[in-house]
C-alpha cells in the first residue's frame, strides 16, 4: 500500500506536455527521490500534488483512496506539505509568526502565542531543528530559513513532505545537516518526496528514486542497488562523462590586464575588492575560486561595468575600459554571463529572439534607420536556437519567462559566445543546472577558449574549478591569496586558501 500514489498523471501547457502519463508511488516512511533534468516535469508533477495545477488526466490516491486536490488548502488537509525552492516566508515577521501564519490559535480573536511557542519549541527539539523563534526571517541564514519551512510543515502535522531542490541554496555543512534532519523525519514516520538532480545526494539519503525525462516516466529504481552512472543515464538519456575533455591550453597574448583594482562597497565605505591585480591570456581559463561573498561579484561588476571601480585600471587588449560605458566594453569584445540570469541576463517578458539580440539590436544587421529588421532578428534567433540546442515551447517566439532555467542559461551562453569575445566573463554559469546542461555549458566555455577567447570564470563549485580551469586564483576578503595550477593543487589546499588559513604573496 502506498501513502500517496499518483497514477497516470498528464499535465499540458501551451506547446508542451509537461507531464505525460506519469505514475509515482510513495511508500510510508521512505525518502523517495524524484530525479530529472531541468524541464523534465518534476516541479510540475509536485505542483499537481500540491494543488497548484490541475492535471488534464490521471488520479491521486492516498492510502488507496482517491482524493481530489484543488488547492494548497486541500493538500494541507490531506497532510501534504511542501518546502518550495524559493522559500515562502514573510521577511519582516519572526520565525514563530511565520510558522503559525494561516493556522493561528486564537481566543476571541486574540492570538495565543504562548501555546504556539511551546509547540514550536517542542517540535524543534524533537526533530533537532534549531531555530530562534523570535528572530526575524530577514536576519537569519538561508539554512535556518529552510528549517523554518520544515517546521511549518511539522506544525501543520503534515505526513507527506515535499522538498523541492532543497540543497540548491545551501553550503556543504548545511547540506549535511539537512540530510540528517531528513533521516530523522522518516524515523519519526514521515514520508518524503525529494526533488533533485544531484545524484550524490540521492545516494546519500534516498531509498527509491523515480526518474523523469522530458515529461515522461523513465522508471523507478532502488537506490542501494543502482549505481550513479545508471541513474544519470536514465535521467539524461545517454551516457554522460562526469569529467571534462579538455585539450591543452595554447596561451596567446594577455587579453585582460587588471592592476591595483579596488572597489568600495555601496553599503559601507570599506573596500570589498582590495588592490587586486591579475592577467588573463588568450586561450586561457582563469578561475576565481572562493567562498561566496569574498568580493568575487564586485570584482566582476567592476570589470563588466555594472558598478564603477573605485580605483585601479582594467585594460582589454590594451584599451582602458575601467571608466567606459557597458556598451563600449561590449564593443571592445567583452562578453558576460551574469551571476543572476533573471536579474541581469534576460528580459523575461521579451520573447527568446528579443533576448538573443539584447546586445546587438542596434547594429546595422538588426535595424535600419531606427526600425527593427524582424526577418533578420528571427532568422538569427532561429540559427542560434539550432546551433546551441535551446529548447522551448514556441521557438523564437517563446516568452522567455516560460522557459526552463537550463534553457534560459543556454540562451545567455549562446548570445554571449556568438559575440566571439576577446574575453568571456562567466559567473557561476552552471548554477542550478542539471548534469546534461552543465556538461554542455562546460563544453561551450572550452570551445571559446579553443577559439582564442580569454575566459574569466567565477565559481563556487570546487569540482567545476578543478575540472575546467587552467589557472586558479583564490579570493579571500577582497584579495587574491593564491595563484595556483589545478593540476598541482589539492581540494584540501584550496579549502585552506578559501578559508583564509593560508595565503601566498601573489605577484603579477
Amino acid at each position: 500500500m502506498y501513502i500517496i500514489e499518483m497514477r497516470n498523471i498528464t499535465k499540458i501547457f501551451p506547446g508542451i506536455i509537461a507531464n505525460d502519463d506519469i505514475t509515482l508511488q510513495l511508500q510510508k516512511g521512505e525518502i523517495h527521490a524524484l530525479l530529472g533534468e531541468n524541464g523534465a516535469g518534476k516541479s510540475t508533477l509536485m505542483s499537481v500534488l500540491f494543488g497548484l495545477y490541475t492535471q488534464e488526466s490521471g488520479d491521486i490516491y492516498k492510502n488507496e483512496e482517491k482524493i481530489s486536490i484543488k488547492g494548497p488548502n486541500d493538500a494541507t488537509k490531506y497532510g501534504i506539505g511542501m518546502v518550495h525552492q524559493h522559500f515562502k516566508l514573510v521577511h519582516n515577521f519572526t520565525v514563530l509568526e511565520n510558522i503559525i501564519l494561516g493556522v493561528e490559535t486564537t481566543k476571541r480573536g486574540v492570538l495565543q502565542m504562548d501555546k504556539a511557542r511551546t509547540r514550536v519549541v517542542e517540535l524543534s527539539e524533537r526533530y533537532g531543528l534549531s531555530v530562534d523563534p523570535d528572530a526575524y526571517i530577514s536576519d537569519i541564514t538561508v539554512g535556518m530559513q529552510q528549517r523554518v519551512e520544515i517546521l511549518k510543515m511539522l506544525y501543520r502535522e503534515n505526513e507527506i513532505l515535499i522538498f523541492d531542490e532543497p540543497t540548491a541554496v545551501l553550503t556543504p555543512q548545511e547540506i549535511d545537516e539537512l540530510m540528517s534532519i531528513m533521516k530523522e523525519l522518516i524515523a519519526e514516520g514521515k514520508s518524503i518526496l525529494f526533488i533533485t538532480h544531484k545524484l550524490d545526494e540521492i545516494k546519500r539519503v534516498a531509498n527509491r528514486c523515480t526518474v523523469l525525462r522530458r515529461g515522461k516516466y523513465v522508471g523507478t529504481v532502488d537506490v542501494d542497488t543502482t549505481d550513479v552512472e545508471t541513474m544519470s543515464e536514465m535521467m539524461v538519456g545517454r551516457k554522460v562523462s562526469r569529467t571534462v575533455d579538455k585539450p591543452d591550453a595554447s596561451l596567446g597574448d594577455v587579453v585582460m590586464e587588471v592592476r591595483n583594482l579596488t572597489v568600495n562597497s555601496k553599503l559601507h565605505n570599506k573596500s570589498v575588492v582590495n588592490n587586486v591585480s591579475f592577467d588573463v591570456k588568450a586561450g586561457e581559463i582563469v578561475c576565481i575560486a572562493g567562498i561566496d561573498g569574498n568580493g568575487q561579484s564586485e570584482l566582476v561588476y567592476a570589470i563588466t561595468g555594472i558598478e564603477p571601480a573605485s580605483s585601479g585600471s582594467i585594460s582589454l587588449n590594451g584599451k582602458h575600459i575601467a571608466n567606459i560605458p557597458i556598451r563600449e566594453r561590449s564593443k571592445a569584445g567583452l562578453a558576460h554571463i551574469p551571476e543572476d540570469r533573471h536579474r541581469h541576463g534576460l528580459v523575461l517578458d521579451y520573447n527568446l529572439a528579443y533576448n538573443l539580440i539584447l546586445e546587438k539590436y542596434y547594429t546595422p544587421r538588426f535595424q535600419k534607420s531606427g526600425f527593427l529588421r524582424f526577418s533578420e532578428i528571427y532568422s538569427f534567433s532561429d540559427m542560434l536556437i539550432e546551433k546551441f540546442d535551446i529548447r522551448s515551447g514556441e521557438g523564437s517566439h517563446t516568452p522567455t519567462r516560460s522557459m526552463s532555467g537550463g534553457n534560459q542559461q543556454k540562451a545567455i551562453v549562446a548570445r554571449e559566445l556568438d559575440m566571439n569575445p576577446n574575453l568571456l566573463v562567466a559567473v557561476q554559469p552552471t548554477r542550478g543546472l542539471d548534469i546534461g546542461a552543465i556538461e554542455y555549458i562546460h563544453k561551450q566555455i572550452i570551445n571559446a577558449r579553443t577559439n582564442g577567447s580569454g575566459v574569466l570564470l567565477v565559481s563556487l563549485e570546487l569540482d567545476e574549478v578543478m575540472n575546467i580551469s587552467d589557472r586558479i586564483l583564490v579570493m579571500f576578503e577582497g584579495e587574491i591569496v593564491a595563484d595556483v595550477d589545478p593540476k598541482q593543487v589539492t581540494f584540501a589546499e584550496l579549502g585552506l586558501y578559501m578559508s583564509g588559513a593560508k595565503r601566498d604573496e601573489v605577484a603579477v
Binding site: T304, P325, R327, R343, H344, L346
Partner: protein, 384 residues
C-alpha cells in the same frame, strides 16, 4: 513557432475580457440608478447607452470629447511601457493647453515689442497666418508638455526620486503657475478665464461637419468635431510603431520590463527615462492644445484647477490594456459614457450621481487585467 491560433486566442481573450468588465460595470451603474430613482432608472440608463449614437452629430461630439482623453491615455500608456507611471498628464495637459491658447490669442494680433529692444528697429510682429499659427500652437503645446514631463523624468533618472511623487507635485505647481500666468497675460476678467481663441486659431474641420450633423428646422446642427480626432488616431498609430517597430521602443520596453538587464545590455537607462517622460509630456501637451482649439469657444479657467483629462487618461490607458490602438477605442467609449451621462440630468438625476455612475463603470473597467487572467485560465485550460 507560435501558431496563428494562439495569437488569435490572445486577441479574442483581450476583447472578451474588456466586454465582460464593461457589462459588469454597466450592471452596477444601472443598480446605482435604480437605488437613486427606480422609476426613471431605465430611461436614464437607456439614454446613457444610446445617446452617443442617436444622431451623427452626437457621434461627432463623442469623437470630439474623446480626442483629449485619447491623448492623455496614450501619454500614460507610453510611460507605462517604459516602467514609469505618469500621474503628471494633468499638468502636462494644462501647460500644453495654455501655450496653445496663448499662441492662438497673441499670435492673431500685432505683437508690440517692449521698449528695451527698440534698438533693433523691431517695433511689432505682424499677426501670424492662421495655418502657421495653428501649427505653432500644437508644436508649442508639445514642447511645453515635454518640458513639464522632463522634470519628473530628470528627478527619477539622476536623483532616483519616484516619478509618482514628483509628477503629482508638478501637477499642483502647474495648476497654480498657470493660474498666475493667465492672470498676468491673456486674462478675460469677467468670466475669469483666458481670452477666447479667435475663430481662425481653431483646428480646421476639413468637411467633417458635413458628416457629423443632424437636421434642425430647414438646416442642420453640426458637431464641432475637427481634425483633432484624426491627429489623435495618427499619434496612437505613431506610438504603436515607436513601441513595437523601432530600436528606441525596444530599449524603452527593455528598461520598463527589467532595468537591470537593460543596464547589462548597455542601454542608457537614465537617458531613456528622461526621453520617455518628455514624449509622454508632449503627447499630453498636444492633448491640451486639441482640447481648447476645438472651435467650441472653450477657454481655460484662470482659477487654479487640475485638468480632469489627465486623470481620466489613466483609466483610458488601462481600459485600453495599455495598447496604443486599444486606447483609441477606450477613449471613445469613456467619452461616449460621459456624453450620455450628461443627458440624464433632465430625468432628475443630480450631476454628482451621473459622475458616480460613470465612475463606477470606469472603476469596474480597471479590473480588466484581472478578468483577462482568470477567464484565460477558464476558457483555454481544456482546449489546449
Amino acid at each position: 513557432m507560435r501558431t496563428f491560433i494562439q495569437r488569435r486566442q490572445a486577441g479574442i481573450l483581450s476583447l472578451l475580457s474588456t466586454l465582460i468588465v464593461i457589462i459588469a460595470g454597466l450592471t452596477i451603474g444601472f443598480i446605482v440608478l435604480l437605488i437613486s430613482d427606480s422609476e426613471q432608472a431605465w430611461t436614464a440608463f437607456w439614454t446613457i447607452l444610446s445617446f452617443g449614437l442617436r444622431t451623427m452629430r452626437n457621434v461627432g461630439d463623442v469623437l470630439l470629447s474623446a480626442t483629449p482623453i485619447i491623448l492623455t491615455g496614450l501619454s500614460v500608456t507610453f510611460a507605462f511601457k517604459t516602467g514609469l507611471f505618469n500621474i503628471g498628464a494633468a499638468g502636462q495637459f494644462a501647460f500644453g493647453g495654455f501655450v496653445a491658447i496663448y499662441i492662438g490669442v497673441v499670435g492673431a494680433d500685432y505683437i508690440i515689442m517692449p521698449a528695451w529692444i527698440s534698438w533693433t528697429g523691431l517695433e511689432a510682429i505682424p499677426p501670424i497666418a492662421p495655418p502657421l499659427r495653428i501649427i505653432l500652437s500644437i508644436v508649442g503645446a508639445a514642447l511645453a508638455g515635454a518640458l513639464w514631463g522632463a522634470i519628473p523624468g530628470l528627478l527619477k533618472a539622476y536623483r532616483n526620486v519616484h516619478e509618482v511623487i514628483t509628477s503629482i507635485m508638478t501637477n499642483y505647481i502647474a495648476m497654480y503657475l498657470i493660474s498666475w500666468i493667465i492672470q498676468n497675460t491673456i486674462i478675460d476678467i469677467a468670466p475669469f478665464t483666458t481670452q477666447s481663441l479667435p475663430a481662425d486659431s481653431n483646428l480646421p474641420t476639413m468637411g467633417l461637419e458635413y458628416i457629423f450633423r443632424e437636421p434642425l428646422g430647414a438646416g442642420f446642427r453640426t458637431s464641432n468635431v475637427n481634425i483633432g480626432i484624426l491627429i489623435a488616431v495618427a499619434i496612437a498609430i505613431l506610438v504603436y510603431i515607436i513601441l513595437n517597430r523601432t530600436t528606441f521602443g525596444y530599449e524603452l520596453k527593455a528598461c520598463g520590463y527589467n532595468k537591470d538587464a537593460a543596464k547589462y545590455a548597455g542601454i542608457n537607462q537614465n537617458k531613456n527615462i528622461v526621453r520617455s517622460m518628455m514624449i509622454c509630456g508632449a503627447i499630453a501637451g498636444i492633448g491640451g492644445a486639441l482640447n481648447f482649439m476645438n472651435g467650441t469657444g472653450l477657454s481655460m479657467t484662470a482659477s487654479p484647477a487640475l485638468a480632469a483629462e489627465g486623470f481620466i487618461g489613466i483609466s483610458v490607458a488601462f481600459l485600453g490594456l495599455t495598447n496604443p490602438i486599444g486606447v483609441i477605442f477606450s477613449g471613445v467609449f469613456v467619452s461616449y459614457l460621459f456624453l450620455g451621462g450628461a443627458r440624464i440630468q433632465p430625468f432628475g438625476f443630480s450631476l454628482e450621481l451621473v459622475e458616480i455612475v460613470i465612475s463606477v463603470i470606469i472603476y469596474f473597467c480597471a479590473f480588466v487585467l484581472l478578468v483577462k487572467t482568470n477567464i484565460g485560465k477558464l476558457i483555454f485550460r481544456r482546449k489546449d
